[in-house]
Subunit: 224 residues, 2 copies
DNA sequence: GGAATAGTGTCTCTCAGACACTATGAC
DNA sequence: GTCATAGTGTCTGAGAGACACTATTCC
């Protein structure tokens, strides 16, 4: 009786990073049919026995297929229906994740970073997933420090400023940016830590404040 | 081989309306186990043969169990895992919907409206679904005309003002509110249509502008 | 000193909240 | 006229963009 209600459920993840001064997404070559050999988002089936919930599936896929633990992972939308997969009715729970490029394994023949402004044609709903992820990320960037997860844990304000501009794809006034970040106490200075570049004045090093990290965690907790 | 990957997938809907001057959600008495006889959100299994996708499942459930066509329906979050349902590993795609109270069937023994501030204990993840829906609705109310879907298609600005206040649960200055609504061209006046109350000056009748309706539709389309 | 990067001060314009005001109906 | 509801005008303060300015390092 219950068997007739069961569906194939998978998870797909748009992993974003900033690469070559712009927002990019990770694509991997598909090992199996359908679309074997094509580039697509990393994804996999939900396994009742291995995964406590779908978010764990997403973490398992990122660990196995990309070899990372994501700095930030958020559920995006669930796509479903008869036509999205040639194998028939299916459900895909889409996630997006953020990582600094420095913590990603080097791209190779089976794993590439592609600018979100120059995407090839993609199988399933993957183009929609990426578009939705970009929109959510850009939107959240206007009122939170989400792009900080595209940097290592410690960063300077100018690095954060640059990554914001690369995420939203347009310029932000540096002084307005600093005012906003500091007024909302989104970051805390790392005492005694200054970063020297090749030239110029050394910069104060910051990290996300406990308050900010707690907010991101609560925001996800509410839904899990 | 594929059978071991299949999951039970259902849809649950938090249907919001404004009732007794506050935001309320519809609960119906469960006809079957588990939790038979308890009040819970309307929901049902996805049927491959009847539903083109999960949003269609949501519409079918609202039609069958509540007898309505929702003015507004949006996917909220997908809950999954071993522990959320006593029958075992399951997936529930949660939606929220908005309706004017005047278009809902009268409450009875099996169908009640409960203030979101005075919820009883609820089965499954239903408390989380409602909390998530309330948060998304309140959040979207700060920058869109979403609460208009809690009113009939035509309304006066003061009716809209009242429903905003009831949704967010606090007062908004009337003149700021009108400025905002008119500046962003969210509504268009219905020519020659004035609404008389029992007393006082008659009010201009408005409806959501085509631009606004298109925006809501696009926002959903991106994800479907 | 100059070039490069980090960080600040200040002006202006816009917009939201507060709240006093006017307008038009029923009685 | 009063009461009730609809709708407007105006002041003020907070915040964003523009942009000129100072600060600290390497060479």
């Amino acid at each position: 009786m219950e068997a007739e209600f069961k569906q194939v459920v998978s998870v797909d993840i748009a992993l974003f990073t900033v690469h070559k001064a712009g927002l990019a997404v990770l694509l991997i070559r598909r090992e199996r049919d359908p679309y074997q050999g094509c580039f697509a988002l990393p994804g996999g089936f939900v396994h009742e026995d291995k995964d406590a919930d779908a978010t764990q599936t997403a973490r398992r896929v990122l660990a196995n297929k990309v070899g990372i633990v994501a700095q930030y992972l958020e559920q995006l939308y669930t796509f479903s229906g008869q036509v999205r997969d040639p194998r028939g009715w299916s459900v895909s729970i889409a996630y997006y994740a953020l990582m600094p490029e420095s913590l990603l394994p080097a791209p190779d023949d089976n794993r590439i970073l592609i600018s979100v402004d120059a995407l090839p044609e993609l199988p399933f709903d993957h183009a929609k997933i990426i578009a939705g992820g970009v929109e959510r990320l850009r939107n959240k960037s206007t009122y939170s420090t989400l792009p900080a997860f595209l940097l290592p844990k410690q960063f300077t304000l100018n690095e954060l400023h640059r990554i914001y501009q690369q995420v939203i794809g347009s310029d932000i006034d540096n002084s307005s940016f600093r005012r906003r970040i500091e007024a909302q106490e989104m970051v805390t200075p790392v005492e005694g830590s200054m970063k020297k570049g090749r030239q110029g004045r050394p910069a104060q090093v910051y990290q996300l404040s406990d308050t900010t990290l707690r907010q991101f965690r609560n925001c996800l907790m509410l839904m899990e």
